[in-house]
Symmetry: C2
Subunit: 140 residues, 2 copies
């Protein structure tokens, strides 16, 4: 599907900037920060403003076209994959990896029964990623 129609399917009116940002999110599964997106798109859209990147991602999240990750305390990251999956933040290289999600159906039912209306599930793990663990061994 074209990104134009993809945005429409989430009720987001397409524009040059919005398409470019959504494209970046869908093609780069690096869970980019605002800064990363802004710097990457500055080449193609020289007039791009960082405020637009902020506004657009806020809009995407509101419409369910992207999700905001708060796994890294230093800045917020965004994910174009809105399906339920877990995230792993490497404390060494600061990269964020995707991991399969734990099943939450039973828990959701229980939480909802207790009056907590869950709208978002975040499964975050932090530690050392395989690549950094390997490079650590080399040094020893």
């Amino acid at each position: 599907m074209k990104t134009y129609d993809y945005l429409l399917s989430y009720g987001v009116k397409p524009s040059v900037q919005r398409i470019a940002i959504m494209d970046y999110l869908l093609e780069h599964r690096t869970h980019p920060s605002i800064e990363e997106i802004y710097l990457a798109l500055c080449d193609d859209i020289p007039t791009l403003s960082k405020t637009t990147v902020y506004n657009t991602l806020k809009l995407f999240v509101e419409h369910g076209a992207a999700q905001m990750l708060t796994i890294d305390e230093r800045n917020v990251n965004y994910d174009g994959d809105v399906s339920l999956h877990a995230h792993f933040l490497c404390k060494k290289c600061n990269k964020i990896y995707d991991l399969p999600a734990a099943h939450e159906e039973d828990r959701m039912e229980q939480f909802n029964m207790n009056g907590f209306a869950v709208q978002e599930i975040h499964q975050y793990y932090k530690g050392i990623c395989p690549m950094c663990a390997a490079s650590k061994e080399e040094l020893s």
Copy 2:
């Protein structure tokens, strides 16, 4: 156990400021922010610096005496309860609630087998808490 000895048990050298901050964390299970802790303790310790609150909580986290929550993108929160449990952030009142944790043993084993050395587990849920849900109904 006295907070003095509690800190020692985590390898943290006690001080007036450290004891006061740890006490606040243990007695107020509200998952306070730096700001909340600072304002609360200013009365008792008029000379308290916000930098000290930052330094101290960083120290606590390094020694495993507290955990840092990144559930709220607006600021970091701290929890004196370092046992594994889930957190729920109400999008309306912004309060953070404790919820029972999902069992993670099998997943940890799997992640570790894949080379991801997990050091921290965060189970975050966001939505509307029971109190806010109730007050919403009143208005309708």
